[in-house]
């Protein structure tokens, strides 16, 4: 595996008033890997991710994403990343094609590129028949696949996925991970948060956040060995229990 560091985080901290959501976390993400970012609800995953994608200013610490400092070059960071939020965030009142056109357009793709990409994407997702339908009419699983593809429109180096499979059925979840694998195979770095521990097993490396700090970071295999358990689920429970 290419060991070039594409994300480099050092002592990253975010406080809201007297509450510290993210407590001085440090980690690296290698180019091309699938990095799982795990943690219970409220552990600070989303806050940490928002700092990495440049929409939340760190209180202290440093983070370099794709070679750009998130504090001072957040707009450059945004050019190099794709983001899919846990809340479906395409325009419900636009059709699939119109959504693709819009997001392609604001990432600076030309009309010709957009046309090509749209055709490609609709073919790959098998959305030919609904391409001119409003996005609101799509089932959730399809919406998520579409969001993922749209996040990749501008061919970013890293794509951030915030609980991409929340509320999605197992088959679609499976298909979704196949898409993630395919994309990682092309060399795109995947940074994904999830609640599903079976999904954690698919990652090259995972970090587990507990109450704002990273408590564990390794490959799923090593973590299971370290905690002497058979599944990631047990690793997670052990870590979470220590807190209580």
């Amino acid at each position: 595996m290419n060991q070039e560091k594409i994300i480099n985080v050092k002592n990253l901290t975010k406080t809201f008033g007297s509450f510290t959501a993210v407590k001085s976390i440090s980690f690296d993400v290698n180019q091309g890997e699938i990095f799982g970012f795990l943690g219970a609800n409220g552990a600070g995953k989303t806050t940490a991710m928002k700092m990495l994608i440049g929409i939340s200013k760190p209180t202290s610490g440093e983070a370099v994403v794709a070679g750009f400092d998130v504090k001072t070059q957040s707009e450059m960071v945004k050019k190099s990343i794709g983001y899919m939020s846990q809340k479906f965030s395409m325009y419900d009142d636009l059709t699939i094609k119109e959504n693709i056109t819009f997001f392609g357009g604001i990432y600076g793709l030309s009309r010709i590129q957009i046309k090509e990409k749209t055709a490609e994407l609709i073919y790959e997702l098998g959305l030919e028949e609904v391409a001119d339908k409003l996005v609101s009419a799509l089932p959730l699983g399809w919406k998520q696949k579409l969001s993922f593809s749209v996040a990749l429109l501008h061919e970013p180096k890293i794509v951030f996925l915030d609980e991409p499979t929340g509320g999605v059925d197992p088959i679609t979840r499976r298909q979704f991970w196949e898409m993630i694998y395919a994309e990682a195979h092309k060399g795109t770095t995947i940074f994904v948060t999830t609640h599903y521990m079976d999904e954690a097993e698919y990652c090259d490396r995972v970090s587990i956040m507990v109450e704002g700090s990273i408590e564990a970071l390794d490959s799923p295999k090593n973590l299971k060995k370290q905690y002497n358990v058979t599944s990631m689920n047990d690793v997670f429970l052990k870590l979470a229990r220590n807190v209580e």
Binding site: K78, I81, S85, M90, D93, F102, F103, G105
Partner: protein, 374 residues
């Protein structure tokens, strides 16, 4: 620039996909102009008039006939006693009670003077004031007639009554047509309200839906996003103005004496002010509901202090000073000046530059308050 076009394209698609939008643009202005222009009139008509005639003389009857002849008064009743009349006033059935005392005619002839008592329902003070003027006019006219008639019987003391007759000439609206005055003002209200509400709800809607976050992780520039967002509403504002002006001309036949280009020039800058306010509200609220409340709050103050319904000159000095910060005030002034007086650019340059300044300040604030990073 290309990015901006993509946003504008998207906004227009969303605007026109919204089924309520076309009626808002074309039907609302029509309804508001038709209803408000006819209803929001300060002319006091159909005054419920009653009297107590204790004299029963030729003179008293003549006086009452004069009231009956007036188109402003509706003589509804005569009472025998003041108590009875007061009772009806309490119930809200009558607006005016004229009391003609005993010996009204006799005193008029003998002492050359006589008195009348008039009671006016003054719950609406402004209307009562106007009613008082009408009543006084009728009584004065009656007085002059009666003097002339009575004094002719007495040659010795006959004096030609000294009258000063004023002949008013009403400039800019010589038939005193209320609609001519109100329609341009209501048009201002319409353009302002629609653009303010639509723009203030717009960005906050994306916040609610979560799409704003998605926008904020793209490398889009703040100014691109804002221009792309507001341009469609700017166009919409001008379309509404056009629809309104057409209605004003075709249905109300309001004169447009000045250069219509001047109205468009002013409106195009004015819309920036309104859109800036809308954007500012959008940036400082989290839900469409909050945005709507704040937009309403400002609209109500702006409208009541704009000189649209009540003259600014009759407000207390401090309130007059406050109106200087009210963009609607300037638009109301301008549109009336240009349409009814045929004002030129030179005449409106003061208001124009204030609005330009206002547009810069508000949009500056709005752009500053829009944050891609928290």
């Amino acid at each position: 620039m290309k990015t901006i076009l993509f946003i504008i394209q998207k906004e227009f698609r969303q605007i026109f996909r919204n089924k309520a939008m076309l009626p808002i643009i074309f039907v609302l202005p029509l309804l508001q102009l038709l209803i408000l222009s006819n209803a929001a009139s300060f002319e006091v008509k159909n005054i419920q008039f009653s009297y107590i005639d204790s004299d029963h003389s030729a003179a008293s009857r003549k006086l009452i006939t004069n009231f009956k002849a007036s188109s402003y008064f509706k003589v509804i009743q005569s009472f025998n006693s003041k108590t009875e009349a007061n009772h009806e006033m309490q119930k809200g059935k009558v607006d005016v009670i004229l009391e003609i005392p005993n010996h009204f005619e006799r005193n008029l002839i003998k002492e050359k003077k006589s008195s009348l008592s008039v009671s006016i329902n003054a719950i609406d003070g402004a209307a009562a004031g106007i009613e008082n003027v009408y009543i006084t006019q009728i009584i004065t006219a009656f007085n002059q007639n009666i003097q002339t008639n009575l004094f002719q019987y007495n040659e010795a003391t006959y004096v030609q009554p000294q009258n000063i007759v004023t002949i008013p000439s009403f400039w800019y609206n010589n038939t005193l047509n209320y609609k001519t005055f109100m329609v341009p003002g209501i048009l201002v209200l319409l353009v302002t309200m629609l653009t303010l509400f639509l723009s203030s709800m717009n960005i906050v809607r994306e916040k609610e839906m979560g799409t704003l976050e998605q926008i904020n992780v793209t490398p889009i520039k703040k100014y691109q996003f804002i221009i792309g967002k507001l341009f469609p509403f700017w166009v919409l504002g001008l379309v509404i103005l056009t629809v309104g002006l057409l209605i004003a001309k075709l249905i109300f036949n309001v004169p447009i004496l000045g250069n219509i280009g001047l109205i468009y020039l002013f409106t195009s800058v004015y819309l920036f002010v309104i859109l800036g306010i809308g954007l500012f509200i959008s940036n400082h609220t989290e839900t469409q509901q909050q945005a709507m409340f704040i937009a309403w709050f400002f609209t109500v103050i702006f409208i009541l202090m704009s000189g649209l319904f009540t003259p600014i000159e009759s407000m207390p000095q401090w309130a007059q000073n406050v109106t200087l910060f009210n963009p609607i005030r300037y638009f109301v002034e301008i549109i009336r000046m240009v349409m009814l007086k045929g004002a030129t650019f030179l005449d409106i340059s003061f208001q124009f530059f204030i609005i330009v300044l206002y547009a810069f300040i508000l949009n500056g604030l709005a752009v500053l308050s829009y944050k891609k990073v928290n």
